[in-house]
Symmetry: C2
Subunit: 778 residues, 2 copies
Amino acid sequence: MSAVGSSTQRVDGNAKVSGAAQYTADIEMPGMLHAKALRSPHPHARLVRIDASRAAALPGVLAVVTRDDLEGLNPYYGAVVEDQPVLALDRVRCVGDIVAAVAAEEREIAEEAVELMEAEYEPLPAVFDVVEAAQAGAPIIHEERFETQAAIFREQLNLNAGGNVCSVFRAGDGDVDAGFAEADQVFENTYRMPPVQHGHIEPHVATAVWESPNRLLVHTPCQNPVGLQEQLARIFNLPESGVRVVVPFVGGGYGGKTHARLEPVAALLARKSGRPVQWVLTREEVFLTGRRYGGFVKMKTGFKRDGRLVAREVEVFYDLGAYALSGPANAKTGSYVASGPYRVPNRRLTTYAVYTNLPPAGPYRGVGVPHVAWAYESEMDRIARHLGMDPVELRLKNLVQEGDIFVTGEPLVSVGISDCLRQVASDIGWRGRVEQEDGAREGSLRRGKGLAVIMKSTTTPTASAASVRLNGDGSVMLLTSSTEMGQGVRTCLAQIVAEPLGIPVERVTVSAPDTDVTPYDKSTSSSRTTFHMGNAALRAAEDVREQLLEVGAQALEVDKADLELGVDGVRVKGVPDRGLTVPQLLKAKYGDSVGSIFGSCNFQVKGGLDPRTGKGKAAAFWFFSACGAEVEVDVETGKVRVVNVATSVDVGKAINPLQCWLQNEGSMLEALGAAFFEEMVFEQGQPVNGSLLEYMLPSMEDHPERFRSLLVETPHPDGPFGAKGAGEAVIPAVVPAIGNAIANALGGVNITELPLRPDRIVAALAEREAGAPGEDKP
Amino acid sequence: MSAVGSSTQRVDGNAKVSGAAQYTADIEMPGMLHAKALRSPHPHARLVRIDASRAAALPGVLAVVTRDDLEGLNPYYGAVVEDQPVLALDRVRCVGDIVAAVAAEEREIAEEAVELMEAEYEPLPAVFDVVEAAQAGAPIIHEERFETQAAIFREQLNLNAGGNVCSVFRAGDGDVDAGFAEADQVFENTYRMPPVQHGHIEPHVATAVWESPNRLLVHTPCQNPVGLQEQLARIFNLPESGVRVVVPFVGGGYGGKTHARLEPVAALLARKSGRPVQWVLTREEVFLTGRRYGGFVKMKTGFKRDGRLVAREVEVFYDLGAYALSGPANAKTGSYVASGPYRVPNRRLTTYAVYTNLPPAGPYRGVGVPHVAWAYESEMDRIARHLGMDPVELRLKNLVQEGDIFVTGEPLVSVGISDCLRQVASDIGWRGRVEQEDGAREGSLRRGKGLAVIMKSTTTPTASAASVRLNGDGSVMLLTSSTEMGQGVRTCLAQIVAEPLGIPVERVTVSAPDTDVTPYDKSTSSSRTTFHMGNAALRAAEDVREQLLEVGAQALEVDKADLELGVDGVRVKGVPDRGLTVPQLLKAKYGDSVGSIFGSCNFQVKGGLDPRTGKGKAAAFWFFSACGAEVEVDVETGKVRVVNVATSVDVGKAINPLQCWLQNEGSMLEALGAAFFEEMVFEQGQPVNGSLLEYMLPSMEDHPERFRSLLVETPHPDGPFGAKGAGEAVIPAVVPAIGNAIANALGGVNITELPLRPDRIVAALAEREAGAPGEDKP
């Protein structure tokens, strides 16, 4: 192989660094208006009255939209649950909920118009804590859904979940009560993760224009253009082909651009004004628009003296905020791995996706897994400490293995997790049990190392379609709706297409998504693209390859097997002079040396879980990763310095090793933010640190002194060239590895809430001194 | 059939009338520069020196390009002959030749910078008349090509064509000398047609940006995006995939936007400046950029007393101007129909494409045919008058018939020309021979009717590829590189795709060309799109249809033949309840109710003519049309009023009758301009009326009082639903029909030069009074 496996330069890199790349906000159209929204100042209120007449009368204002403009449309949308109104109808459910919007000739006029709008509210009781929100008696946020949903829970799960629980998913094995009874020891702890920001440099932005009353064109940096197309079509009662979603260059996504966010309102304004409308959110609005679910995890673990886990019960509460988006699906993704990548014969794993009166959350790299990984990997180190075992040994004793039947009932394949763990342990110089006992000391500084492993599914069942076109000069075009958002998908897919055709990567062009021209894809999320779209692209390219070989074999009167493909066309193996160029092949096929040869593939992985049993097929592939970290903690200030981080991912096959490295390094740095300082703070539903002035994101200053990205390649039998996904594989393992390193540096402390702020570390040390319940207290 | 054959509303109409349609000049990009060219003031000169240093130093100027910037590139380009430099190298060949260009932050700065450029020329002898230019001894315009080309003529045609003859094409039958000897009478005349403007509302315009050193993106209203892509790739030494040509909405083309015009220079400026560059030509520059070939026709006809044509010799000279573009191909198109749609046993037909020192010409609706049609249909009426025959009868006696072997050696199929003639004659109330003898009189006004018929080939061999994608909601996308330039191709193709799938036209979206995503097409020209791309689209849709039927048959356990397709999916014929929706079919095919189903087709018509013999296959299909006109001439002023025009085209099958009407009406009105007042006037190569102030285009004021568009439907066995092309079918017939109507109104006058200006009519009448050689003088 020449294209696949090499660290090819990014195909989109030059455009980005030279400034030639055009982002959505760069688009200008004649007559284009600028949008601005009136947003709710209340976390929960009845919307009594809106008066937009003064705004509408302001010179330069071309359109004002309120709930009255939703007449005749489908006012609610949502990826899983249609619970989000395009504009507030009878009530607002969070601070920042869009109540009305305006489109004006200048941004400043739009802002002024919003100031002129009057909205009257009648405040309602609100609930912000995810566990509280899930209790009976909490203020109900989506009254209209409550009864139906409760009935489903009763029927499917025999469960009296109520209030604001949007979805429940349950997986399990064995007999949990018997398991706990059999255990030598039972640990029970709770863990908490705050909501955090995606922190994509480019804010949410969209440009909408109606080409006709039945034809909407939207430019937006969306990770899920086909899904957005479907939702917009449904809102506006159009066929899918009546909506065209075009994705320009994207300035980062991390899951935050997976769903419709501001596009429905932009489209509504464009429709009313008859003009193109562009809407660029301010950073403050981004904070009110999306984030990672906050989470609360209750974990009870029973284990034997030899370290074997025998029972585990986990309950996880994901805070959706005001609207579900893909919350139920993401919570499900967290459920079946809530007991970790471990063999646990008896387990009951339940996840709840719960509405609160906070701004809506949504998928974020790793979706439901970071929450549970933070819990189960902290627990593993506590158990190891309690048993006096090497945490590596404890993990290896319990880790899932190739061929194991997982809690979902499916056999696991391509399971490189033990290798991942061994790799990072070796790389950070893990020296066994002593590490956790004896943090190196120097003044107030303590050093320690920590480890963590995780597993994650990819969203299944899903489909990805690709089509490949061979041009007359032998260059190739791949049509795909996969979004390049920095992760390198265009480069990776170009490599996958180049390989079977025997051409250099530079001869392959990979489209940006444009629902008019690029085919179906479920979405660019869940680290699924290399596997799913990679398979579709590979098979489409192989389709072209077969056609070339067939024509070549016929024209050259040789067996297909005797031919090979290369940059110049086909040639007879071992006879360099005997071959046909692409124009000659076209001539042989079509009678003229011009034209296109097409290949296509709709790649589908069947699967899915029965909601009653939690059994089925959860993942087209599973990915596994490990992280090892070394930190230095100042016991006086609680400040932590990250000395060394190593990550290892079982990627199946690295299509582009450099890109894997970069994905892992990006994940690692992003996770350090969540580990140490990222948290969105709300007071009574009002954002406290809702801008980049107050909210801290990691920068290169926070980069560890040393970082290594290690790869394990356990080829997946169904992956393109054996590849699996890698994008988000590292992120859930980093935070618990850091937490475990800190605990080891300090000889065991009990911090169960993120981020690992200096004040929390100092407080945990003080607690331990005071003999308060701390480390090793089950 | 429900979609095909109905006058569906234009799918792009709404965007155009509402202003939502985005044209190339509407594009704005951050940092976008504006271009302006320094153009040659000389028709022919050696370029001694260029000094652009003062221009380059002007604040706001980001790039200046001259011949020095072509180093390392392929400096010459051209569709048929690579004779046109991106920027003048050693010499300029016409007024308006691009010598240098500048890109600046504002249009005004670019204009000022051009003023600061200095170019020194050494004038060379120039030649402007096409016949003079073809003679030995004329100043040679492309010296480097002269010897090679002359050798080819000698070898292939045994012909001593020299000087500026770029190409010669010869077709023939029988023994011409024997034919003339056998004739009872021989007529010999010459005809002349001036160059005219295409008159597209939108000027030539392009926006170019380099996304990387190996990746050029050009937006341009081009009729031939793939061809332009190929040319740009060649100029800049890139693979085809290194150039992306995107075609926004187009404000008219008529052939004038078929070839690279300003795109190479725009791309060069963008490369040098590292910025997006937009170039919008002024109307004055459009006049220097493209036009229809002027032509000179020598026609000698031998006929029998009963009206049978027995011999014809035709020589045609097409004035290319300074560069060939597709001139040689267009001149060939004129050659084999130079004796008209008539059976002529002995004929020798020769066309010359000749360089002159006028600005370059290029294809224009009807390409080489209007020139010869003006000649042969004028001759037919003269012969009829001479013989005292009804011109309709004379034509019907000689017209080609179904199955005739044409001069190219191929059998003619789908030949509805006699029906076309009868239709228009009947529609304008043609009453036989008397019409030509006795123009109705009223004071100085004389009424008369006239008729003409024509035939034309479509460019062959060529290929068109299309791909069709079925979405999950049953809507369908057609990917095609066909350019919608007002002719209605998107609507027509949507109808063709909708038909086999049994869905309404509104469910089909048709792409605009984007070479990144839309497949190969030869070009949108030569009225070839309905036939070629229509076939490709139809077969791609049938491919999808077959897949749906196969899946449906399997899932429903019935025979494919028992199923029918409709908007909801497939159903068993006669059993409305038994069927599967598209999502159900997708589920049956792929396991999930989402995804895409693909169909594709590369449609190719083989053919071509042997340049030595003129024999082979000239056309995938031939189209035929007729025009009848009634005029009123004021014999005192020479002013003509068009009372009535009827046109008839054999379209094979009208996919959209209303669009056929509109094409024909547009052609008719365009032809009235050429008939009465359009002519580009040059004095020593300098434009005299080179703007829309001085040059007149027809307006609705010039519309005849009555117009009828008649259609004949002689299904073509290879056409989609029997359809052929219609776009330019009418245009060559209108001018001779008008000319014949004027001659009939006046009882016979001899006007052989276009346009039919009042002064020419008055002069011709005076000539006849004076007994000068006039009508009926062979």
